[in-house]
Protein backbone atom coordinates (compact mmCIF):
# COMPACT_ATOMS: atom_id res chain seq x y z
CA UNK A 1 0.00 0.00 0.00
CA UNK A 2 1.33 3.42 -0.96
CA UNK A 3 1.32 5.83 1.99
CA UNK A 4 1.87 9.52 1.92
CA UNK A 5 1.55 12.02 4.77
CA UNK A 6 2.12 15.70 4.96
CA UNK A 7 1.65 17.93 8.01
CA UNK A 8 1.93 21.43 6.66
CA UNK A 9 1.43 25.11 7.40
CA UNK A 10 0.49 25.95 3.83
CA UNK A 11 -3.12 25.84 2.64
CA UNK A 12 -4.25 22.50 1.26
CA UNK A 13 -4.06 22.66 -2.53
CA UNK A 14 -6.81 20.28 -3.61
CA UNK A 15 -6.24 20.77 -7.31
CA UNK A 16 -2.53 19.96 -7.06
CA UNK A 17 -3.20 16.92 -4.89
CA UNK A 18 -5.82 15.58 -7.29
CA UNK A 19 -3.47 16.22 -10.18
CA UNK A 20 -0.69 14.20 -8.50
CA UNK A 21 -2.92 11.14 -8.11
CA UNK A 22 -1.77 7.98 -9.84
CA UNK A 23 -3.88 4.84 -9.87
CA UNK A 24 -3.33 1.39 -11.30
CA UNK A 25 -5.69 -0.22 -13.81
CA UNK A 26 -7.29 -2.27 -11.03
CA UNK A 27 -8.67 0.73 -9.13
CA UNK A 28 -12.44 1.20 -9.12
CA UNK A 29 -12.96 3.70 -6.30
CA UNK A 30 -11.33 6.92 -5.21
CA UNK A 31 -12.57 8.75 -2.13
CA UNK A 32 -11.59 12.17 -0.97
CA UNK A 33 -12.47 13.54 2.40
CA UNK A 34 -12.08 17.20 3.31
CA UNK A 35 -12.43 18.27 6.92
CA UNK A 36 -13.43 21.92 6.91
CA UNK A 37 -13.36 24.41 9.78
CA UNK A 38 -16.91 25.28 10.80
CA UNK A 39 -18.09 28.60 12.13
CA UNK A 40 -19.70 26.96 15.14
CA UNK A 41 -17.40 25.35 17.70
CA UNK A 42 -19.43 24.18 20.68
CA UNK A 43 -21.44 27.19 21.78
CA UNK A 44 -19.29 29.86 20.22
CA UNK A 45 -18.93 31.35 16.76
CA UNK A 46 -15.31 31.27 15.73
CA UNK A 47 -13.36 32.77 12.87
CA UNK A 48 -10.60 30.16 12.69
CA UNK A 49 -8.94 27.24 14.42
CA UNK A 50 -5.29 27.30 15.37
CA UNK A 51 -3.97 23.72 14.97
CA UNK A 52 -0.88 22.52 16.77
CA UNK A 53 0.85 19.20 16.15
CA UNK A 54 3.57 17.21 17.87
CA UNK A 55 4.78 16.42 14.39
CA UNK A 56 7.25 13.62 14.94
CA UNK A 57 4.77 11.64 17.01
CA UNK A 58 1.87 12.52 14.71
CA UNK A 59 3.81 11.03 11.79
CA UNK A 60 4.47 7.84 13.76
CA UNK A 61 0.84 7.51 14.84
CA UNK A 62 -0.43 8.03 11.29
CA UNK A 63 2.04 5.38 10.16
CA UNK A 64 0.55 2.92 12.64
CA UNK A 65 -2.94 3.75 11.37
CA UNK A 66 -1.77 3.12 7.80
CA UNK A 67 -0.33 -0.24 8.87
CA UNK A 68 -3.68 -1.18 10.39
CA UNK A 69 -5.46 -0.14 7.19
CA UNK A 70 -3.12 -2.28 5.13
CA UNK A 71 -3.77 -5.30 7.33
CA UNK A 72 -7.54 -4.94 7.08
CA UNK A 73 -8.37 -3.88 3.54
CA UNK A 74 -6.94 -4.22 0.01
CA UNK A 75 -6.23 -0.51 -0.34
CA UNK A 76 -3.84 0.63 -3.08
CA UNK A 77 -2.94 4.03 -1.67
CA UNK A 78 -3.62 6.44 1.16
CA UNK A 79 -2.67 10.09 1.13
CA UNK A 80 -3.24 12.39 4.10
CA UNK A 81 -2.59 16.09 4.52
CA UNK A 82 -3.23 17.81 7.85
CA UNK A 83 -2.78 21.51 8.00
CA UNK A 84 -1.47 23.20 11.14
CA UNK A 85 -1.43 26.82 12.25
CA UNK A 86 -4.38 29.12 11.71
CA UNK A 87 -7.08 27.66 9.44
CA UNK A 88 -10.01 29.95 8.77
CA UNK A 89 -13.67 29.00 8.69
CA UNK A 90 -14.57 27.38 5.33
CA UNK A 91 -10.98 26.25 4.72
CA UNK A 92 -9.96 22.57 4.89
CA UNK A 93 -7.73 21.47 7.74
CA UNK A 94 -7.66 17.82 6.64
CA UNK A 95 -7.54 16.11 3.26
CA UNK A 96 -7.61 12.33 2.85
CA UNK A 97 -7.59 10.27 -0.31
CA UNK A 98 -8.08 6.52 -0.46
CA UNK A 99 -7.92 4.46 -3.67
CA UNK A 100 -9.03 0.85 -3.81
CA UNK A 101 -10.43 -1.75 -6.19
CA UNK A 102 -13.93 -1.40 -4.71
CA UNK A 103 -15.81 1.34 -2.95
CA UNK A 104 -16.77 -0.68 0.14
CA UNK A 105 -13.20 -0.99 1.35
CA UNK A 106 -12.39 2.58 0.29
CA UNK A 107 -15.23 4.04 2.38
CA UNK A 108 -14.41 1.78 5.34
CA UNK A 109 -10.70 2.64 5.29
CA UNK A 110 -11.31 6.37 4.93
CA UNK A 111 -13.67 6.46 7.90
CA UNK A 112 -11.29 4.26 9.92
CA UNK A 113 -8.41 6.66 9.29
CA UNK A 114 -10.44 9.63 10.52
CA UNK A 115 -11.77 7.78 13.57
CA UNK A 116 -8.32 6.54 14.60
CA UNK A 117 -6.70 9.88 13.93
CA UNK A 118 -9.11 11.52 16.33
CA UNK A 119 -8.10 9.02 19.02
CA UNK A 120 -4.32 8.89 18.73
CA UNK A 121 -2.70 11.52 16.51
CA UNK A 122 -1.27 14.34 18.68
CA UNK A 123 -2.87 17.37 17.07
CA UNK A 124 -4.79 19.94 19.07
CA UNK A 125 -6.98 22.85 18.22
CA UNK A 126 -7.56 26.25 19.73
CA UNK A 127 -10.63 28.11 18.52
CA UNK A 128 -10.00 31.68 17.43
CA UNK A 129 -12.82 34.14 18.01
CA UNK A 130 -12.86 37.69 16.77
CA UNK A 131 -11.84 38.94 20.20
CA UNK A 132 -9.03 36.42 20.62
CA UNK A 133 -7.56 36.92 17.21
CA UNK A 134 -5.46 39.89 18.34
CA UNK A 135 -3.59 37.37 20.44
CA UNK A 136 -2.34 35.14 17.65
CA UNK A 137 1.39 35.75 17.87
CA UNK A 138 2.28 32.26 18.97
CA UNK A 139 0.62 30.71 15.94
CA UNK A 140 3.00 32.52 13.63
CA UNK A 141 4.90 30.20 11.39
CA UNK A 142 8.55 30.01 12.46
CA UNK A 143 10.70 32.25 10.33
CA UNK A 144 7.90 33.84 8.35
CA UNK A 145 5.72 36.89 8.67
CA UNK A 146 2.62 34.79 8.88
Amino acid sequence: MKRWLRIQWDPIDEAALAHERTISRGIGAVIYFLGVVREREGEANISAIDYEAFEKMAARQFEKIFEAVERRWPIESVRVVHRIGCVHVNEPSLWIEVTAPHRGEAFAACQFIIDEMKKVVPIWKRPITETSSANLDRTARPGTNH
Binding site: Y51, F54, M57, A58, A59, V120, V121, P122
Partner: protein
Protein backbone atom coordinates in the same frame (compact mmCIF):
# COMPACT_ATOMS: atom_id res chain seq x y z
CA UNK B 1 19.20 10.09 35.16
CA UNK B 2 17.96 12.94 32.99
CA UNK B 3 14.56 13.00 31.34
CA UNK B 4 13.28 15.81 29.11
CA UNK B 5 9.58 16.56 29.54
CA UNK B 6 7.64 18.50 26.89
CA UNK B 7 4.17 19.95 27.46
CA UNK B 8 1.87 20.29 24.47
CA UNK B 9 -1.24 22.35 23.75
CA UNK B 10 -2.80 24.01 26.80
CA UNK B 11 -0.60 21.99 29.16
CA UNK B 12 1.94 24.69 28.35
CA UNK B 13 -0.48 27.24 29.75
CA UNK B 14 -1.20 25.12 32.83
CA UNK B 15 2.50 24.73 33.66
CA UNK B 16 3.83 27.96 32.21
CA UNK B 17 6.53 25.86 30.59
CA UNK B 18 7.21 24.23 27.24
CA UNK B 19 9.93 21.90 28.47
CA UNK B 20 11.51 20.89 31.79
CA UNK B 21 14.60 18.77 32.23
CA UNK B 22 14.09 16.39 35.17
CA UNK B 23 16.69 14.51 37.20
CA UNK B 24 15.13 11.28 38.49
CA UNK B 25 16.50 8.19 40.28
CA UNK B 26 17.16 5.10 38.22
CA UNK B 27 14.07 2.87 38.11
CA UNK B 28 11.60 5.75 38.19
CA UNK B 29 8.36 5.03 36.36
CA UNK B 30 6.49 7.39 34.07
CA UNK B 31 3.69 7.48 36.64
CA UNK B 32 6.07 8.58 39.40
CA UNK B 33 7.50 11.31 37.17
CA UNK B 34 4.05 12.63 36.33
CA UNK B 35 3.08 12.52 40.01
CA UNK B 36 6.05 14.68 40.97
CA UNK B 37 5.27 17.12 38.14
CA UNK B 38 1.67 17.38 39.34
CA UNK B 39 2.97 18.42 42.77
CA UNK B 40 5.10 21.14 41.24
CA UNK B 41 2.36 22.25 38.77
CA UNK B 42 -0.97 21.97 40.65
CA UNK B 43 -3.01 22.91 37.53
CA UNK B 44 -1.59 19.81 35.87
CA UNK B 45 -3.02 17.76 38.73
CA UNK B 46 -6.50 19.04 37.87
CA UNK B 47 -6.12 17.46 34.41
CA UNK B 48 -4.99 14.13 35.82
CA UNK B 49 -7.73 12.09 34.14
CA UNK B 50 -7.21 13.80 30.79
CA UNK B 51 -3.43 13.52 30.64
CA UNK B 52 -1.90 11.49 27.82
CA UNK B 53 1.69 10.33 28.15
CA UNK B 54 4.22 9.46 25.48
CA UNK B 55 7.90 8.55 25.42
CA UNK B 56 9.57 9.54 22.18
CA UNK B 57 6.74 8.94 19.63
CA UNK B 58 4.80 6.16 21.37
CA UNK B 59 2.06 6.27 23.96
CA UNK B 60 3.07 4.74 27.29
CA UNK B 61 1.29 3.84 30.51
CA UNK B 62 2.14 4.83 34.08
CA UNK B 63 4.22 1.71 34.73
CA UNK B 64 6.68 2.43 31.93
CA UNK B 65 10.26 2.41 33.37
CA UNK B 66 12.12 5.53 32.35
CA UNK B 67 15.60 5.43 30.83
CA UNK B 68 18.30 8.08 30.88
CA UNK B 69 17.72 10.50 28.00
CA UNK B 70 14.05 9.62 27.52
CA UNK B 71 11.93 12.31 25.90
CA UNK B 72 8.59 12.40 27.63
CA UNK B 73 5.53 14.27 26.32
CA UNK B 74 2.44 15.17 28.32
CA UNK B 75 -0.65 16.49 26.64
CA UNK B 76 -4.43 16.71 26.76
CA UNK B 77 -6.79 14.59 24.61
CA UNK B 78 -6.01 14.94 20.92
CA UNK B 79 -8.32 16.80 18.51
CA UNK B 80 -7.08 16.33 14.99
CA UNK B 81 -9.32 16.75 11.97
Amino acid sequence: MKVLVTFHSYFRDLTGATQVLEDVPSGTTLGELVHSLQKRFPKLKSMERSTLMAVDVEYQTRDYQLHDGDEVSLFPPVQGG
